[in-house]
Each structure stands twice: as structure tokens, then as C-alpha cells.
């Protein structure tokens, strides 16, 4: 009986727990070195010239443990964005908008994203968004349409942003893939920039070999990074692994983001990278969240803040 009760009450309990407050850490990047400080110390944010927010891995269509309501947790994430003191200039979604690339999943995601009060929304696909059609539906709905391959770049307040696609034409036994065409474009795209230009690169799968046995990496990312090393400040934002991992390599700092849907295990912890089902409903919000990035004018540094759902 007890089991039956808790099961029927699961969703209500889950939503109630989503209201609990979470904690966050502000990450400041200075010369490629991260400095952490509590989220409530707002002094460092006053010199920001603009901010943007990253969300990832919404997996609309997923309906199992530990999160039977992925639309609800995405909505909570968007509400957190809307609660920011300063409206973010734009939002980056780093892929896996949907779980199975179904039209109705894209419809739901698209509708929910209208709730985000941000200047613009930019997307790159995850492998879950390109099933069956090599991303045709994703690119039709969410693509920037700058190039046939789907990759793109834009400038904002002196910083250069590059959206890369690394989830198509994957080879048996391999990791994520950028392809020769995209690498040639990237090399050319970066060629005209001064080394002082802050560069932000975003893509779904990690652009460094985070944990290859679980497919957490990109086969030809080394070539892409070779084009980026001359820059004084490079930030690489990825999703895919549903948790925060960070790495500093020279002037390049790598971050992966939390999911808005469900967490995955730490690298190598357990038999595979499936949903972390052991997370209890009352604890789930601590594993989900958004990332807020502020561009600090002095030195062109980026301050990166991760916030869990509240």
C-alpha cells in the first residue's frame, strides 16, 4: 500500500520539491584560470557589458525516472532566466532539445522557449535531434541557415560566437565529428579576427576527450582547437553529459552544462551514461539548471555562473 501511495503522489511530490531553493557558484575566468565565489556576491557583475544564458539537454519526450515531467523542469529553468536582474542578451541551447526528434517534441520545445524573455535564441542540435533525417527538421525550425552544414557564427559586443555541429555523420566506433568541411569553414571564420577578440565556441558534444569510452568527446576537435590557441580568451560551452565538468587548457576553458531534464552519472561511474535513476524527486532540482555568462569589460573576461533549479 505504501508503495502505491507514493507512486500516485509522485508527480505532486516532484513538483513541490521543485520549489526548494538551490545554491549556485559564480565562476570568473581570468587569463584562463577560474575563480569561484558565491552567487549572492553581485559586485563583480556590475562591470558586465552584456550577459547571455546557456541551457542544454531538455530531452522533450523523455518520460521516465528520474524525471517524468521534462517540460515542467524546462519551464522552471526558463523562469529562472526571466528572474535574472539583467535581461540576457540571448540564449544558447546546446542541443538535445528533444528525446526522439519527433515533430510533436519539437513543437513542445518551440512553444516553451517562447516563454524565455531574452533578446534572441540560438540552437545547435544534439544527436537526439537528428534521428532519421540528419537534422532536416531541426535545421528547418531552429537553424541559423548561414551554411548548408548548419554551423554559424555571430558577433556581439566585440565577442565572437561560433555554433558548431558535431552530431552528424558519426562513424561506427567513433565519437562526435566536426568534418573537414566544417573545420575549413571554422579556420576561415576565425582567420580575420585579432587575437584579443574573446571567442565563445558552443556545440553539443564535448570538444575535448572528456570520457571517450562513453562517447564523451569529438574525434576531430583537436584540429578545431589548433585554430583557437592564438586567442587570449576562448570559452567552449558544451552539453551532452548532463553535468558540469570544467577544464582549462592554456587560454581555452571548457565547460559542460547541466541538463534541464535529468542528470547522468559522473564519468565512468557505473555501466553506462544513462539517466541517473537513483536521484530522488526531492533532490532532482539540484542536478538541473541554467548557466548565466556575463561579459566583463575589463580584460574581456567572461564570468560564468551555474544555477540549479529553485
Amino acid at each position: 500500500m505504501d508503495n502505491d501511495d507514493s507512486r500516485s503522489d509522485g508527480r505532486r511530490q516532484f513538483l513541490k520539491c521543485m520549489a526548494w531553493a538551490g545554491a549556485g557558484t559564480l565562476w570568473l575566468m581570468k587569463g584562463g584560470v577560474l575563480h569561484a565565489q558565491p552567487l549572492n556576491e553581485s559586485a563583480t557583475t556590475t562591470d558586465a557589458s552584456f550577459s547571455f544564458v546557456q541551457i542544454s539537454d531538455s530531452h522533450i519526450g523523455f518520460h521516465k525516472a528520474p524525471n517524468p515531467d521534462v517540460a515542467g523542469t524546462l519551464r522552471r529553468s526558463l523562469a529562472m532566466i526571466n528572474a535574472q536582474k539583467t535581461r540576457p542578451a540571448f540564449l544558447l541551447h546546446t542541443g538535445d532539445l528533444t528525446h526522439l526528434s519527433k515533430p510533436e517534441e519539437f513543437d513542445t520545445l518551440s512553444g516553451l522557449m517562447q516563454e524565455a524573455r531574452v533578446g534572441r535564441r540560438f540552437y545547435v542540435p544534439g544527436e537526439h535531434d537528428v534521428i532519421g533525417d540528419n537534422g532536416a527538421e531541426f535545421f528547418r525550425r531552429f537553424g541559423e541557415k548561414q551554411h548548408a552544414g548548419g554551423w554559424y557564427s555571430f558577433d556581439h559586443n566585440g565577442a565572437h560566437f561560433v555554433g558548431l555541429i558535431n552530431v552528424l555523420n558519426l562513424k561506427a566506433g567513433g565519437l562526435g565529428s566536426l568534418s573537414a568541411d566544417q573545420l575549413a569553414w571554422l579556420k576561415n571564420d576565425l582567420a580575420g579576427l585579432s587575437a584579443e577578440t574573446p571567442v565563445v565556441v558552443f556545440a553539443h558534444m564535448p570538444l575535448w576527450p572528456l570520457y571517450p569510452p562513453w562517447g564523451w568527446g569529438t574525434d576531430d576537435s583537436g584540429e578545431a582547437l589548433s585554430y583557437l590557441r592564438r586567442f587570449g580568451s576562448v570559452t567552449v560551452l558544451n552539453g551532452h553529459i548532463h553535468q558540469i565538468q570544467q577544464k582549462v587548457e592554456g587560454n581555452i576553458t571548457f565547460y559542460t552544462a547541466r541538463s534541464t531534464a535529468y542528470p547522468q552519472p559522473a564519468p565512468g561511474d557505473g555501466p553506462g551514461p544513462g539517466p541517473l535513476q537513483s536521484v530522488k524527486p526531492e533532490a532532482l532540482h539540484r542536478y538541473l539548471g541554467i548557466r548565466d555568462v556575463r561579459h566583463v569589460r575589463a580584460g574581456g573576461a567572461l564570468a560564468v555562473t551555474d544555477e540549479v533549479l529553485t
Binding site: K64, H99, L100, I131, G132, G215, G272
Partner: protein, 113 residues
């Protein structure tokens, strides 16, 4: 020939005597062979079957997977959600390598004799 099939059956099914006897008495092509998709891997990773066999994959993960032939020798599955199945009948002898198109580190082989 019978000896070869029997040996293959033992390898594929890990010595399950009952299933093997059934395969031996039934004509090739009537008994489907099973591949489980579990913990981001195919089990068994290599499956040896007689020509005409129907192979059924069952997704035991809560993550989606997509069965994809390396070299497009057989049709790809749609996205397999948890507990979904996908079946292919292999009529011609040969080695059929396959992988999951969204988790390409997952690889397997069907050897058709």
C-alpha cells in the same frame, strides 16, 4: 553443415541447451535470434546465425538507440525508445557490422553463414 550451425548456436546463446535444441530441429529462418541493447552495449556483441534468420534487437536501456548498418547493408531502425524492438531478416551470408548512430561507440556484428 549441421555441425557448423550447432557450433554457432552454442557460441551465440552461451550454451543454452534448450534453445539450441529448438534451433536444431526447426528449419533456419523460423526462430528469431535476440540481441539485447543494455548499458550502452549490444549483447551478444557478435552473433552468428544461419542465412534466413530473423534477428530481433530489444532496447533494455532507458536511453534511445538507433540500429544502423555500417555501409548501409540493411535498413536502419527508427529511434528505439525503452523496450522498443527492431527486427531484420538476414537472407544472404556475410558479415554485417552495425552501430548505434547516436552513440557510435556502441558497435556489434551479425555473422550470417
Amino acid at each position: 553443415m549441421k555441425r557448423v550451425i550447432l557450433l554457432a548456436c552454442v557460441i551465440a546463446l552461451g550454451g543454452m541447451a534448450v534453445a539450441c535444441a529448438a534451433a536444431d530441429t526447426a528449419s533456419a529462418g523460423t526462430k528469431p535470434y535476440q540481441v539485447a541493447i543494455q548499458n550502452f552495449a549490444f549483447a551478444p556483441k557478435t552473433l552468428v546465425v544461419p542465412a534466413g534468420t530473423r534477428v530481433v534487437w530489444t532496447n533494455r536501456d532507458d536511453e534511445a538507440h538507433v540500429i544502423t548498418s555500417a555501409g548501409a547493408l540493411f535498413a536502419s531502425s527508427k529511434a528505439l525508445d525503452a523496450d522498443d524492438t527492431y527486427a531484420v531478416t538476414f537472407s544472404k551470408p556475410g558479415t554485417y557490422a552495425y552501430y548505434c548512430s547516436i552513440h557510435p561507440m556502441m558497435v556489434g556484428t551479425i555473422i550470417v553463414q
